[in-house]
Every structure is written in structure tokens, then in C-alpha cells.
């Protein structure tokens, strides 16, 4: 009797498994058909755009579940035919570096969290180079204590030189084992893990060494500080179902994050 019941259970499980597969298959067919007839319907459902009025080809704010995208000024991305990294200001010899030149720098990788001022955070493996390499190469004037960075989407950021020389700050070319995507700042972005996301400028086009501090994009546009150091408070990590966790300020490490050894 027990065996018969077990056999029956197995049959039901097998049948339900078959039904599940068939149902999914039918769903897939129906969605594919809808998307082919109404492509707008499909893109609206799965491209996570926050503002559906902005054409989907543009880089823009998207609440992609694992890693939200934030981009102040929607644009089509960098035209690599014309892209160079211009480094100037208080340096003896201003230079313009190509994308290939940047891969000549010593690559360093780290896992760190990008903490958005809007409360969420997300983690990735970043690969890039330390700013100290550029400083050695350019040898800026001793009075150049500030750095001004501009991007391809008319965004701009400002730092002290000391902040950019910290060991966890990287100029990033690759993310999670791949070249940076357009959304995440291709071809070059900054990762300064102790600063809010808005300081982590993407699509970088120029770096200037200065002896006075400039303001940054968001302090000129909203109630946000130029400094942008992550303050003690609450974080809602995307890899923890956005549940609230306390943060002590500076670079964010949650109880499930691995801290760097040094």
C-alpha cells in the first residue's frame, strides 16, 4: 500500500513537472509573439527605465534589481572614435591618453560597495589603476592640492588630491570581469568607496590639477554636499532585499561583506 502511494506520488510529481514545463513553454511562446508584434510593450516591461519618456537607447536612470543605474544627464554614451583622457591644469606637460594607454597602467582589483546617497548600495569587483600612477607620470605642482574631473555627459566632480590617493580609490576600466558597460561608465570611471555614489563619476573625459577647490554637479543642483563622505546612518543593500542595516560611516561593509586584509 505504501509503495503504491509512493508510486502514485512519483507519477503526480512527474506529471506536474511536465505540466510546469509545458506551461512555461506556452508562456514563452505567447510573450515572444507579443514582443514581436508590440516591441514597445516588451521593452517597457524589462528595461527598468525610471522615466519611460527617455528613449531606451540612452544611458539613464534604471532600477535594475541587482545594481541600479544612476546617470544625471541621459546621453547615448561615449563616442570612442573621439575619446581621449585629457590631463591638464598645474602640470608641466599636459597629456591626452588613449583607451589603450590606460591598460598600460598597473591593474589592481578590489571588491567594494557603491553606496548611493538615495539609500541603496550594491557590490561589484572593480579593476583599474591607482591615481598615484598618474601623479607620478604627470608630476603636478606642489600647490595643486585639488582635482577636478569632467565626464562625457556634462557631469563634474571635485576632490582633494589626498582623497584620490587613498589605497581603496580606483580609476576603473573593468567591472565583474568585463570591460565597463555603458551604464556603468565605459570607458573610465572612478570608484571611491568611502564617498556616496554621486562622487563616483562615470564616462570620465578630463582630469585637472588645481590649487583651489571647485564645486561639483550635485552640490550645484540639489541639497548635496561637495565632500560626499558617506555618513553614519542606514543603508538598504540591494543584495540584502533592501532591508535596513546600520552603517558607521565611510566605506560600507555589512556583516556579510568581506573586509580587505590591510
Amino acid at each position: 500500500m505504501k509503495n503504491e502511494n509512493q508510486n502514485q506520488d512519483v507519477k503526480e510529481k512527474n506529471n506536474s513537472a511536465f505540466k510546469f514545463v509545458r506551461r512555461d513553454f506556452l508562456k514563452l511562446i505567447s510573450f515572444t509573439s507579443i514582443s514581436s508584434v508590440f516591441p514597445k510593450f516588451a521593452s517597457a516591461k524589462d528595461d527598468f527605465r525610471n522615466d519611460k519618456n527617455i528613449p531606451k537607447q540612452y544611458i539613464q536612470n534604471r532600477d535594475i534589481p541587482g545594481f541600479h543605474i544612476r546617470s544625471a544627464n541621459p546621453f547615448m554614451g561615449v563616442d570612442m572614435g573621439n575619446w581621449r583622457l585629457a590631463i591638464s591644469g598645474m602640470v608641466k606637460n599636459p597629456i591626452a591618453m588613449s583607451y589603450e594607454d590606460l591598460f598600460g597602467m598597473k591593474m589592481v582589483s578590489q571588491v567594494s560597495r557603491l553606496k548611493c546617497v538615495e539609500c541603496w548600495s550594491a557590490k561589484a569587483k572593480w579593476e583599474g589603476f591607482h591615481f598615484s600612477e598618474l601623479v607620478e607620470k604627470l608630476q603636478p605642482d606642489a600647490t595643486a592640492k585639488f582635482v577636478y574631473i569632467q565626464s562625457a555627459d556634462s557631469y563634474y566632480e571635485s576632490f582633494t588630491l589626498e582623497e584620490l590617493l587613498r589605497p581603496r580609490v580606483l580609476f576603473v576600466l573593468r567591472m565583474d570581469g568585463q570591460p565597463l558597460s555603458r551604464d556603468h561608465g565605459y570607458p573610465l570611471r572612478l570608484i571611491a568607496p568611502f564617498k556616496y555614489g554621486y562622487k563616483n563619476i562615470k564616462y570620465i573625459t578630463s582630469i585637472k590639477f588645481l590649487d583651489t577647490r571647485k564645486r561639483n554637479y550635485w552640490s550645484n543642483s540639489g541639497p548635496y554636499s561637495v565632500d560626499g563622505t558617506i555618513q553614519p546612518g542606514i543603508d538598504h543593500p540591494l543584495d540584502f532585499d533592501k532591508k535596513p542595516l546600520p552603517i558607521n560611516g565611510g566605506e560600507v561593509f555589512h556583516f556579510f561583506d568581506k573586509r580587505p586584509l590591510a
Binding site: 539609500c119 548635496y224 554636499s225 565632500d227 555618513q231 542606514i234 560611516g249 556583516f255 573586509r259
Partner: protein, 248 residues
């Protein structure tokens, strides 16, 4: 009858609101001070405050990482009336640079070790958690040094802006100590531990006390019993310090 009650409520509520608003916004608001008798023969160092020996309520019963609102005893000690400012720091570290406008602002971007060195150079030390919390809340278990809830004046701004160390007389503690809950966080001479702490964290952090808690554009004062933590080599814009000293 019901109508009368509703009308009464609509009159009383705004009145109460404006009364408290007036009370908290005007410069004349003063924190009632604990009367302290200084024993004969004790000389109080310049710009320090004498905190007498005795019990006080430490922690909060709903905060498991604190002393749970129990009575804790302290010996007498001195604590700096103000957080250490740029100009004071330069007296000990002549190479320290700062903008003339920020001379009286708390010195920041210093590690625990640099803060400790400063205090030692003046024959002082960093305060313990017991000393810091008692100086901040007195003996009646208050949540904020000034006792009553107030909104932070910069609420709606995301970022940290410190203030001159002697600016807010209306927010002093019941012992007359400035800046214990609204300016920089302060290095404490204790390792951050709590029940159930993972072993790999047990020696990693020092305690910091008494700054602001911010989430997006919301700014809140941290309660007097709130314990924050930080790696001792961290140099951040929201961490400063003050010194303490034994009574001999």
C-alpha cells in the same frame, strides 16, 4: 459636546506646538545644570570640567549593545569643555594647516592614534565610554544632552557640516559640556565590543560617540547612549575628539 472637544483640540494643539517651537528656537533656552561641589584642593585645568564620582544611568534597555539603562558608577574625572579645534590642535602640532575661517571648528580627518598623541602631549588622555556618556547625559538618563527632542536645523541636506566648538550653548550637557551630540563624532579610548560579536571583529574597531545620524537628506541627533564604531586608522570628515584627565 463632541464638537466642543474637537474645537478645543484644534486650539490647544497649535498653541502647544508654537509654545515648544518658541521654547526651543529662542536663544534664551538653557539646559538646567547639575550643581557640582568641587572638593577642596582640586584645581580644574583650563577649559576642562570636573565630573564628580557617582552613579548614572548608562545605555538604554532597548539597545542590546549598550549597558541597557542600568546604573553604572564612575570615579571623578575632568573632561574637555569643547571638542578640540583646529587652532588648539595646531598648538601641539605646528605643521597642521587649516583655513583661518575654520580655526574654531573641530579638527577632523585624524586617526584614533593621532587624537591619542595630542591628548598625551598635554598630559591628558581620551575619555572612556563611561566618562563620555556620563558627561553627556548627567544622572537622569536623558536621551539628548539638552533633554528635549529638537529637529536638526540642517534637515533636508545630505552631508556633514560641523560648527564652531563653542557655538551651541542651548545644546550643552547638564554638566556644561559642549558638542556632545550634534557636532563631530569623537574617538573613545575603548575597543568596540558587544554580546554576540563575531570573533573576527572583536579587536577591529574603536568606539566613537556623539555625532549625527544621516540617511539621504534626513539628519538626526544621535542619542547619548548611541555607540558607533570605526577602524582606528580611519580619517574622516565627521570624526574629531576631546580629551579627559584623571583627578589626582
Amino acid at each position: 459636546m463632541t464638537k466642543n472637544l474637537i474645537e478645543h483640540a484644534t486650539i490647544v494643539k497649535p498653541f502647544t506646538f508654537f509654545f515648544f517651537f518658541f521654547l526651543l528656537s529662542c536663544d534664551s533656552y538653557e539646559v538646567v545644570q547639575i550643581k557640582v561641589e568641587i572638593p577642596a584642593g582640586i584645581e580644574i585645568p583650563e577649559k576642562m570640567i570636573y565630573i564628580p564620582a557617582g552613579d548614572f544611568i548608562m545605555g538604554h534597555e532597548e539597545e542590546p549593545r549598550t549597558r541597557l539603562g542600568k546604573l553604572v558608577s564612575s570615579a571623578a574625572y575632568f573632561i574637555d569643555r569643547y571638542e578640540v579645534s583646529h587652532i588648539k590642535y595646531k598648538n601641539v602640532q605646528p605643521n597642521h594647516t587649516f583655513s583661518p575661517k575654520s580655526a574654531l571648528y573641530p579638527v577632523t580627518h585624524l586617526s584614533y592614534f593621532e587624537a591619542l598623541d595630542y591628548c598625551k602631549a598635554l598630559d591628558k588622555r581620551l575619555p572612556t565610554e563611561i566618562e563620555w556618556e556620563k558627561a553627556a547625559r548627567g544622572t537622569d538618563g536623558r536621551k539628548w544632552p539638552w533633554r528635549l527632542y529638537v529637529d536638526h536645523p540642517n534637515n533636508g541636506f545630505s552631508g556633514f557640516m560641523s560648527e564652531p566648538v563653542d557655538k551651541r550653548k542651548e545644546w550643552i550637557s547638564p554638566y556644561g559640556v559642549y558638542g556632545m551630540g550634534h557636532n563631530v563624532w569623537e574617538w573613545i579610548d575603548e575597543v568596540y565590543t558587544y554580546p554576540g560579536q563575531p570573533e573576527n571583529e572583536s579587536e577591529l574597531f574603536k568606539v566613537i560617540r556623539g555625532g549625527l545620524l544621516q540617511t539621504h537628506i534626513t539628519i538626526k541627533f544621535s542619542p547619548t547612549y548611541f555607540r558607533n564604531w570605526m577602524k582606528p586608522d580611519s580619517k574622516l570628515n565627521f570624526i574629531g575628539f576631546r580629551c579627559a584627565k584623571d583627578v589626582e
